[in-house]
């Protein structure tokens, strides 16, 4: 039996002892304990150090509102969770808990020195001290010196460094009624509503057991109600489930703890589940939270809320202390006093802040039990380093001050400032609140439009008179209230003095006071402090509480793990991955992949991984890319172009639509012919390019860039549906239907010739920019004579499921001819040698066709197309626009850096206007030197000029050249 465990009573299972450690110290508790109740049973009140002053702190509450008792729970193997409220952590065998915010230990903490200087650490201290004028180095000193030091010293738990090994689940649910809160009101509502078997009811409660306060006062009744509910198939009961966010249209997010800490848990099973519930009606039965009283030194370990003490005694069989002083502003503390006295504790006195104590005969009953009741009395101060040891009392005078009136030794102080309805979730849905003077609290008034939310029970203010207290704010003190530390917000270490200081410095709105003092901004969101803060600001500024306003309640009600939101979307499941039919072949043949959108594309091939350990990855890649380029220029290369976006247009108006969509003339395109096409936005800028191929009078096969496919398809859909709905044309995305094998190089015709049926391949019958339908190795295909390399080349479109055997056959043949596969890097080099642009690499969303030297593509006679009017804007026709050019460094071996800025003057000072920048830069195997594409103001008129690229350590001289480096006549295309 642990020291403070009562001999009988409570909901714990005394037959099941449980071992746990706190800061390495071995202790015992029982099944049914929380970490907080087990610690108290072992006589431990000191559980943490406060945020700012590092003051010793104890357990204040018995629920989710706990501001002090935040601990790190280490379940081993990287399963470490900081900042958990000990009042909510269920005890399990072997639990490892650590206190936080202390160095080196809880009993002696270096940070405690802050407490000695606390007079200088008031509201706004950091702003005033470290944000000095720039001239004094204020901001710089802050960023470099003070902030890192302060951040190290401040903060509570530490985030674990490793990846989270736990799994998290997600579920959507629908119901007629969602009841939030499983106390008496919530259970009764769930019972009433679920009488109709067609009414699906979900009931959730944050605790391991339903019953709420009934578990303290009438556990048998709770058990009966839970039993009745459990028997109903239309009721879903979620324990350990915190409704943390309430959103528009009755949508509620619930965090459910899944691992029953007492059972052996499967490491693979999810530990938490995010419920997203859409309800016909939300019933909020979230109860009420007891308010602390604001008196000097009210934060010592051993000072706790009266209701919490009663909970620990009656629900967990734990005495929080043996010699108890009570300070109260309402009647419920008497219940705690009587129960504790019955359990053997000495109730030294009940100090009543009210002049006339209690309703009915409650004070008389206390007196009859031999408990002194002291009306009009407050606490002027407490002593005790790591635990309260005595209190000094004071009589409240009519002038609002207090005078000393003796004192007591005590190991525990219980306080009760009345009860605050928990309206957080109602407020999150933007429901209107009203101020209830007699309760010293806000109550739900009117749900926001579209919300079916009803608040019942204590959350709606339905509380017996004994729970009500209008008192808010700080209690009277003897002498200057600025000489004492009376805490309002325990978690953020905000005192009544800080709030008064803020109002004296001119802050009026509670929103500003909150941000300046940080009151209510800790992870507990001010559950125990907000109303006392309002009371102090109201008193100080001589206004009523509603005049000051109320800060906004936001989700989450209690902190939620990141893992819960991430759910299954992590690792391989973070984002969908698209692979082409040739992916596995590429992988087997040494492909190094790159991500292009969600696609995996072969970047380059390393058939034999470099054995020379000294060869860097970069050198190996360079060598591979150079070899791939040479194969294409000298023999034949195979390229997997399956990721290209492909759209099929069908219908009598297909040509008309494409004519309006692309800059090019399309209506005149002959069947069997292709055209390189540019797509603009209405502003006149290039957003995509591709090939338009006419398969029949009313049928087109159009390609887009890999990354632009979905966007372009969506844009066309928009024009088809809303701009030109009269056009008879249908578009279908066939990106995944067709795999595309590009066969490029002087020997490309040779390797496909005997595989193709029904298509005459001669240059005359099937010229450059032609398309035919036929068969290849017996499979239907669309064969394009197109080239993105400047070589004779074909793109074979073949149904994706049938592509791999063809690829394998072609790869075999290519190897016989001295060719092979090439990746996207070689593709980039080959196209840059020809000056072919890549949209979004050589263009940046402000480039016109003319800028790119592609003005020839525009159908000049067309009355309209997307972007035509945009191209006529004065800025787009002005001279001096950036134009695509080629660059070669004077040191020709040099490969420039993409993105490098270009200036005309070798001595251009830093900050000079750059006339352009490098968009593409490679080492060209065919030319034996570095090449680059760039966009430069008035670039075409600068051909031949020497320009300069200032880099970090040097300035590189470059010569402007034509953007086509290789075969400008195009002889190689027409082999």
């Amino acid at each position: 039996m642990t020291a403070f465990r009562s001999p009988a009573g409570g909901r714990i299972d005394r037959s099941k002892p449980i071992r746990f450690t706190f800061d390495g110290r071995q202790m015992h508790g029982h099944a049914g304990d929380t970490l907080a109740s087990a610690l108290l049973a072992n006589g431990v009140h000191l559980v943490g150090r406060s945020f700012k002053y590092h003051r010793p702190r104890g357990i204040l509450s018995a629920g989710p509102e706990e501001p002090n008792a935040l601990v790190t729970i280490d379940r081993g193997g990287g399963r470490e969770t900081p900042n958990l409220r000990a009042t909510q952590v269920e005890l399990y065998e072997g639990l490892v808990a650590r206190s936080q915010n202390r160095l080196p230990g809880l009993r002696f903490d270096i940070g405690g020195i802050n407490n000695a200087f606390s007079r200088f650490l008031g509201a706004g201290f950091y702003y005033k001290t470290f944000m000095g004028p720039q001239a004094l180095g204020g901001a710089k000193l802050w960023a470099r010196l003070f902030e890192p030091a302060i951040r190290r010293a401040a903060g509570l738990g530490r985030a674990p460094a490793g990846p989270d090994p736990d799994r998290y689940a997600n579920r959507f649910a629908h119901c007629e009624v969602l009841v939030i809160g499983g106390g008496e009101a919530g259970l009764a509502e769930a019972l009433r509503r679920s009488e109709d078997p067609a009414c699906r009811v979900i009931l959730c409660d944050e605790q391991a057991e339903f019953g709420g306060w009934m578990l303290v006062e009438a556990p048998e009744r709770a058990d009966e109600m839970v039993k009745a509910l459990s028997a109903r198939p239309n009721v879903t009961m979620l324990r350990r489930s915190q409704a943390f966010g309430a959103y528009a249209q009755n949508f509620v997010a619930i965090a459910q703890q899944l691992t029953d800490p007492l059972a052996t848990t499967d490491a693979e099973a999810p530990c938490e589940r995010l419920w997203q519930v859409r309800a016909g009606e939300v019933v909020l039965a979230s109860g009420a939270i007891e308010r602390p009283l604001v008196f000097p030194d009210n934060d010592r370990p051993g000072i706790l809320l009266a209701g919490a003490a009663e909970t620990y005694l009656r629900r967990y069989g734990v005495l929080p202390g043996r010699k108890i002083v009570i300070l109260t502003a309402c009647d419920t503390a008497y219940g705690a006093a009587f129960a504790l006295q019955d359990a053997g504790a000495e109730i030294v006195a009940i100090a009543e802040t009210r002049a006339a104590p209690g309703a009915g005969d409650i004070a008389a009953r206390a007196l009859a039990r031999g408990i002194p009741v002291l009306p009009g009395t407050t606490i002027l101060g407490t002593t005790g380093h790591l635990r309260v040891s005595s209190v000094r009392l004071g009589r409240i005078r009519p002038d609002g001050e207090a005078e000393p009136s003796g004192g007591f030794t005590a190991d525990t102080v219980l306080m009760s400032g009345g009860w605050t309805p928990s309206i957080h979730l109602f407020s999150q849905t933007k429901g209107k609140l009203r101020w209830e003077e007699g309760l010293g609290a806000y109550l739900p008034a009117l749900p926001a439009p579209g919300q079916a939310i009803r608040v019942i029970g204590a959350a709606a203010g339905e509380m017996p008179a004994g729970m009500r207290s209008p008192a808010l704010g700080a209690l009277p003190v003897a002498g200057s209230p600025d000489r004492v530390k009376a805490f309002v917000d325990f978690q953020n270490d905000v005192t009544a003095r800080d709030l008064r200081l803020a109002t004296r410095e001119g802050f009026r709105s509670i929103e500003h006071v909150k941000r300046y003092t940080t009151t209510g901004m800790a992870t507990d969101q001010g559950k125990t402090s907000n109303l006392n803060s309002l009371g102090i600001v109201a008193a100080e500024t001589g206004r009523s509480v509603p005049e000051i306003g109320l800060t906004t309640f936001r989700a989450p009600y209690t902190p939620v793990t990141f893992g819960l939101f991430a759910g299954q979307a992590r690792g391989d499941l973070f984002d969908p991955v698209r692979r082409t039919p040739m992916h596995d072949w590429a992988e087997r043949n040494g492909a190094v992949f790159e991500d292009v959108g969600t696609w995996k594309r072969a970047h380059y091939f390393l058939p034999r991984r470099p054995v020379d350990a000294t060869a860097s990855g970069h050198a190996a890649m360079h060598e591979a890319v150079q070899a791939e380029c040479r194969k294409v220029r000298e023999a034949v290369g195979l390229f997997d172009a399956s990721t290209l976006g492909k759209i099929e247009f069908v219908g009598p108006d297909a040509a008309e639509f494409l004519e309006r969509a692309y800059v090019n003339p399309v209506k005149g395109l002959a069947v069997g012919r292709c055209r390189y096409a540019l797509l603009l936005n209405e502003a006149g800028f290039i957003i995509d390019d591709g090939i338009i191929a006419r398969l029949a009078q009313d049928r087109f096969h159009v390609t887009t860039t890999t990354g632009g496919a979905a966007r372009v398809f969506g844009m066309f859909e928009d024009y088809l549906q809303t701009e030109w709905p009269d056009l008879k044309v249908w578009q279908t995305s066939v990106t995944e239907h067709w795999a595309v094998i590009a066969v490029q190089g002087p020997r490309s015709r040779e390797i496909i010739a005997d595989l193709v049926e029904g298509i005459e391949l001669s240059d005359a019958a099937f010229p450059h920019m032609a398309v035919r339908e036929g068969r290849i190795t017996g499979t239907p295909c669309r064969l394009f004579r197109v080239s993105f390399t400047g070589e004779l080349g074909y793109e074979i479109n073949i149904p994706a499921g049938l592509a791999l055997p063809l690829w394998e056959k072609l790869a075999e043949r290519a190897a016989e001819f001295g060719g092979g596969p090439y990746g996207t890097e070689a593709m980039h080099v080959l196209r840059a040698e020809k000056g072919y642009i890549i949209v979004a690499q050589d263009t940046d969303g402000t480039m016109t066709p003319e800028d790119m030297g592609l003005g020839w593509a525009i159908g000049k006679k067309k009355p309209d197309f997307i972007g035509k009017r945009g191209l006529m804007r004065p800025d787009l026709t002005a001279s001096g626009r950036k134009q695509l050019v080629g660059l070669v460094a004077e040191d020709r071996s040099r490969v420039l850096e993409e993105g490098a800025q270009i200036v005309p003057d070798i001595l251009a000072p830093a900050g000079s206007h750059a006339i352009g920048h490098v968009t593409s830069a490679y080492s060209s195997a065919a030319l034996g030197h570095g090449i680059a594409l760039a966009v430069i103001e008035d670039g075409r008129n600068r051909i031949g000029q020497l320009l300069h690229i200032p880099m970090e350590r040097e300035t590189i001289a470059v010569r402007v050249v034509e953007p086509v480096f290789l075969d400008p006549e195009g002889a190689r295309l027409h082999g």
């Binding site: 859409r278 009017r869 804007r873």
Partner: protein, 105 residues
Amino acid sequence: MLLIRCPWCGMDRPEIEFRHAGAAHITRPGPPDRVSDEEWAAFLYLRDNPKGRVAERWRHVHGCGRFFNAVRDTVTDVFVVTYKAGEPRPPETGPGESQPTEARP
């Protein structure tokens, strides 16, 4: 998460099935040679940003794929009405009439 009624499907569906597509009832001026620079600039870039009811385009992109219009209150996020693309804005959904709220700093 909001529920949005797709006027083509005739069903309330969750917000994640939809994609916002900008202001509604913007007419593309033309033909190009009859449109002034100012007119075209207004078409490209100038949009109202009222507090209260706005008409905007949405697409049921993960559903029927179709575009439609909606009148939404930018203060309360309430969808007042949704209607098919090409239909006029219902006259009773005129601008303004948003619920007043306290200014929040």
